[in-house]
């Protein structure tokens, strides 16, 4: 069960909020400080992607982020409500283009046509996979979209103030 659940309207400006919340919870549950940049980048990428998907398919739907700290593992799941993407539904990672291939498709002039045009869908996912050791990208169980699930060890959990209380007195 998720310890914290966040839902936000599919707007880019809320992605930063999601990053800050992720970092705050990660610190609280004892994820190592050296992993904090990775946590923020990964959750930001997953949320940016979800915002893109919603903007394209159903802007009224909220993006859902679930935070859980069960079994000494900190897990963040970002759920979108778009149609399951072919490259996501396909379990074979080899089917996805490489980051370099995706970036080579960035059109120097594309951004002028539509301010919403960003990168090819999938670059964020590729970056997450390059960053985070424990990632699962799957169609949602209810068939309503995609779930990007990322986990980090809570190795610092024993150092939480509650556990370390009194040692400094």
């Amino acid at each position: 069960m998720a310890t914290v659940e966040l839902q936000f309207g599919a707007l880019p400006l809320h992605v930063r909020t999601a990053r800050l919340i992720a970092a705050a919870i990660a610190r609280r549950v004892g994820v190592e400080e050296s992993l904090m940049d990775e946590v923020k980048l990964a959750v930001g990428e997953a949320c940016s992607r979800a915002v893109d998907v919603h903007a394209e398919h159903d802007p009224t739907q909220l993006v859902t982020v679930l935070f859980s700290d069960a079994d000494d593992v900190f897990t963040i799941s970002v759920l979108d409500a778009g149609p399951p993407l072919a490259q996501v539904a396909d379990d074979d990672e080899g089917m996805r283009p490489s980051v370099g291939e995706m970036l080579s498709r960035v059109d120097a002039d594309g951004g002028e046509l539509d301010p919403a045009v960003r990168l090819p869908a999938g670059l964020g996912l590729a970056l997450i996979e390059g960053l985070v050791d424990d990632v699962m990208i799957t169609p949602r169980a209810d068939g309503r979209g995609t779930r990007v699930q990322m986990s980090w060890p809570m190795v610092g959990a024993l150092l939480l103030p509650e556990a370390a209380g009194g040692t400094g007195d």
């Binding site: 990053r19 980048l41 594309g110 951004g111 990168l119 390059g130």
Partner: protein, 113 residues
Amino acid sequence: MDLSLSTRTEGDRTIVKVGGEIDVYTAPKLREQLIDLVSSGAYHLVVDMEEVDFLDSTGLGVLVGGLKRVRAHEGSLRLVCTQERILKIFRITGLTKVFPIHSSVDEALSATD
């Protein structure tokens, strides 16, 4: 923190100093700045990222877009960055091979292809 942008010129080079967070929300501002510069004839850009706190794939896309724009005019786009957290993102995406990355603005300014 929001994105901050400032520009100055040194000879035929234009230095774009970027600070704060480059993400899905702020990257359009950077893209707009790069487009404006190229439109006004600035084809040799140095993007100083030393004060950037956060960079995501949207920001990478804007930089790649900027590179393609200046290259269309036989220009250049050099980055200044020594922050490991930002360099890591360029390494993971293979972009260290695409962008010349310098450790100081002076180094970028004196660099030639």
